[in-house]
């Protein structure tokens, strides 16, 4: 690698990288004291079903969720959203007027992904309500196996209404570029995640380096789903950290 910049920020995905549902992957010890202060560490997540407060014991300002991005968007546009998000994520939208909705926000909300609720959302979108996707992940790793993410349901509403969703989470470039502190260049940041397209591809499109980990939703061959491929593929998050400590400090 020529022209390599110093590493100043590490962006880390949560679900599937740091933990799977409530089980932590072997991780936290990887942040041995000496390394961490040299980098800004930021957690970036499309985990839409838990609100910020439930995420780790990390200062809020170090966590960037697509839920907060969605909230910002509907607030800027003065919209009253129909919220298809998990109950535990509603807290992130506290205070917003949701009566007589004129926008539809779709996150990961299996309990809402049924015929009746999707019909309600569809009718709103067909009448002109903007469709906001917290993210468009195809599926995620659940305790009992892979399960459908919000992406397929957003796609269904897009097809039915003939309109495109505004996607606010990963892999949107704007989502990644908001994360590093001002003055930092994308080339000075690396993103670590288990989703080839949304974590690694998205970060690389934003000018960062992307490290794919073979945990969580990772499946053999995922490396080839993006072009250019990942900067690096590692077995786990600790391996990725080892690499950063050895080669990018």
């Amino acid at each position: 690698m020529s022209g390599r910049r110093a590493l100043r920020a590490v962006l880390v995905d949560l679900s599937g990288t740091l933990h799977i549902e409530d089980t932590a992957t072997p991780v936290r010890s990887s942040w041995s004291g000496s390394a961490r202060p040299r980098w800004a560490v930021r957690f970036v997540t499309n985990t839409t079903k838990e609100c910020k407060r439930n995420l780790l014991e990390t200062p809020e300002e170090e966590i960037f969720t697509s839920l907060s991005a969605a909230r910002r968007l509907v607030e800027q546009n003065h919209q009253r959203p129909l919220l298809l998000v998990e109950d535990s994520a509603l807290e992130d939208f506290a205070g917003l007027d949701t009566s007589n909705p004129n926008a539809v926000v779709v996150g990961l909300a299996p309990q809402h992904f049924n015929y009746q609720t999707l019909n309600t959302a569809f009718r709103l979108v067909l009448e002109g309500a903007p469709l906001v996707a917290v993210h468009k992940a195809r599926y995620y790793q659940r305790g009992d196996g892979l399960a459908l993410g919000p992406g397929p349901f957003v796609t269904a509403l897009e097809y039915a209404s003939g309109r495109s969703a505004v996607v606010v989470g990963k892999p949107q470039e704007t989502f990644f570029t908001q994360v590093p502190d001002s003055g930092m260049q994308p080339g000075e940041a690396v993103m670590i995640g288990d989703d080839a397209r949304d974590d690694v591809g998205g970060a690389q499109n934003a000018g960062m380096r992307g490290i794919l980990v073979r945990t969580g939703k990772y499946r053999v061959g995922d490396e080839s789903k993006i072009s250019p491929g990942p900067y690096l593929t590692c077995d786990s998050f600790p391996d990725a950290v080892d690499h950063l400590l050895k080669d990018l400090l």
Partner: protein, 274 residues
């Protein structure tokens, strides 16, 4: 109001294919109600020298059941005149030796009784309506993602249809959801698939240019028929929306108020200049 230039080819027509829902009847709580004038219009077509078939993407009930429903409404119609996706799908599955995981309406299951469904190696999705729960969609997704080469069949790909209480999502959006989740492209069985229309034409023993399709769905009825070389006529009943007139890719050969007017103009033009 009706542009009747499409009737100029009426004399050379030898057959007519009618869509059912939105052309013959409107669906609703108690099975639906006939659209005014349509019972009589079907009778007049049958009495003419035109061959008549019915072509529907109805997948909420078996053919026997919904044909019986139409007969009860007063329509002169029999099972052998009706083409619907489920029997066509059964033929395809048997032909290719495929064992489906079914995500369809309960009322349709009987159509698939003769097909081996153990250890599935494909998914068939129809308009499952209330059966489109997250867990049911997830089950179908897991079958697909677990296959080395996922195969998805969709019984039609309509976007939505009209029910008494408003518009409802049809099978198309759910097909798209599974396509997106698994990176596959579904094989559509039913309108607007050419294979489906050609099976109707071959049963009629007619060439596409000899046949006119009448439907309320611009893309699936009119556009599908036109791609096969048929004339496509749209009625302003059922799911018709005024914006259909400005559609970016499909333009109907003609638009009429309803089936009764279509039959009036068609039979009138054929009788006219003798």
């Amino acid at each position: 109001m009706a542009d009747s230039s499409w009737t100029s080819s009426a004399e050379s027509l030898k057959g007519v294919i009618l869509d059912l829902c939105g052309v013959l009847y409107d669906s609703g709580e108690d099975g639906g109600t006939p659209i005014p004038g349509s019972v009589e219009a079907v009778k007049r077509l049958k009495a003419s020298d035109l061959k008549l078939r019915f072509c529907t993407n109805e997948t909420q009930a078996s053919r026997d059941k919904f044909v019986a429903k139409l007969q009860k409404m007063g329509f002169d119609i029999s099972v052998c005149e009706v083409f619907s996706p489920a029997p066509a799908a059964v033929a395809v599955l048997k032909d290719r030796g495929m064992r489906p995981h079914l995500l369809v309406y309960d009322g349709l299951l009987s159509e698939f009784e003769s097909v081996d469904q153990t250890n599935p190696n494909c998914v068939v999705v129809g308009d499952a309506a209330g059966n489109f729960t997250y867990e049911n969609l997830n089950d179908a997704f897991r079958v697909l993602i677990g296959l080395e080469k996922p195969v998805l069949f969709a019984l039609g790909k309509g976007r939505y249809y009209k029910e008494a209480d408003g518009l409802s999502l049809d099978v198309g959006p759910y097909m798209k959801a599974l396509e997106y989740a698994c990176d596959v492209e579904a094989e559509v069985i039913g309108k607007p698939s050419s294979v489906f229309f050609h099976s109707v034409l071959s049963d009629m023993g007619l060439q596409p240019h000899q046949v006119m399709m009448v439907g309320d769905d611009l893309v699936n009825d009119v556009g599908g028929a036109q791609l096969c070389g048929m004339t496509g006529l749209q009625v302003r009943t059922g799911k018709y929306r005024p914006s259909d007139q400005q559609h970016r890719s499909v333009k109907a050969d003609g638009t009429v108020d309803d089936l009764a007017q279509a039959v009036d103009l068609l039979l009138g033009a054929r009788a006219g200049p003798l």
